[in-house]
Amino acid sequence: MAGVERRALRMAEFAVGDRDQALDLVQDAMMRLAGRYADRPAAQWPPLFHRILQNRIRDWRRRERLRRRLHAWWDGSPGGDPDEAQGDPMDRLPDPRGATPLKEIARAGAIAALEHALRALPPRQQQAFLLRVWEGLGVAQTARALGCSEGSVKTHYARALRTLRSRLEEYRP
């Protein structure tokens, strides 16, 4: 689990945009895994953990949407769901290289750009890409974790890959 938890935290953080919230979600997923699935075969633990974590992330997003709507209704403002926001989210992000133009920190700039590009992906594309590429889950396992079809996973992954390659083209060595 120690090998999985850091990646899990970062994945949750990319999804919810807040480290404290991400830590709560990861802890909740650990508790649920330990409480319910200890009797499952060893090969199932990592995908099960990610399935639980993805469910927690989905629940969190639903609560956030509801909270924003209630807040908007209370304030009389239009409110808004970042997922449904118009335009390219990348355009609203600061250029991570802007403050650090020195060549010595080019690598740090590339990492920051990667993380910004990942955060800007639609949620399902983002998590499908991370589960496949970083966590090494297969298409079927990713589909189970995300609660969608294998075809959807392939589509999300392909779109995420295309977007990221395009966004990060200038960081190629």
Binding site: M1, A2, G3, E5, R6, R7, L9, R10, R19, L23, V26, Q27, M30, M31, L33, A34, G35, Y37, A38, D39, R40, A42, W45, P46, R107, A110, I111, L114, E115, L130, V133, W134, L161, L164, R165, L168
Partner: protein, 119 residues
């Protein structure tokens, strides 16, 4: 089949993500460790609660085993000694009131508690 350029891109992505995960601050890493310890503790608590009904189940199991051994013994004199020994050993584990849940899930707790070497 992935193209060579795609493989290289994905390799660099993984490298970047690993670097980000490796650069987590000490306070965050500590909170993660605490969260894991908390989960293990909670799982242990659940196992201890299960232990409460184990003696009763064990007693019933022992009775059943004794009846089984006693019944099959005289009727089947050809039963090899190791088989009888295994039955008695199983009866002993049951009678000990040990936490069977914990025994069965030992691999899981090791994986939860330790690093990548455990899966």
């Amino acid at each position: 089949m992935r193209a060579a350029g795609e493989e290289e891109f994905l390799r660099r992505v993984r490298e970047g993500l690993d670097a980000g995960a490796g650069a987590l601050d000490a306070a965050t890493v500590m909170r993660l460790h605490r969260a894991r310890a908390h989960a293990i503790e909670a799982a242990g608590g659940r196992a201890r609660r299960v232990r409460g009904w184990v003696p009763a189940a064990a007693a019933a199991g022992v009775v059943a085993l004794v009846v089984w051994i006693g019944w099959s013994g005289p009727m089947h004199r050809q039963t090899p000694a190791p088989a009888v020994a295994a039955r008695l050993e199983a009866a002993e584990v049951l009678a000990s009131g040990a936490n069977l849940d914990l025994y069965e899930n030992l691999d899981f707790y090791a994986w939860l508690a330790h690093g990548p070497g455990h899966g």
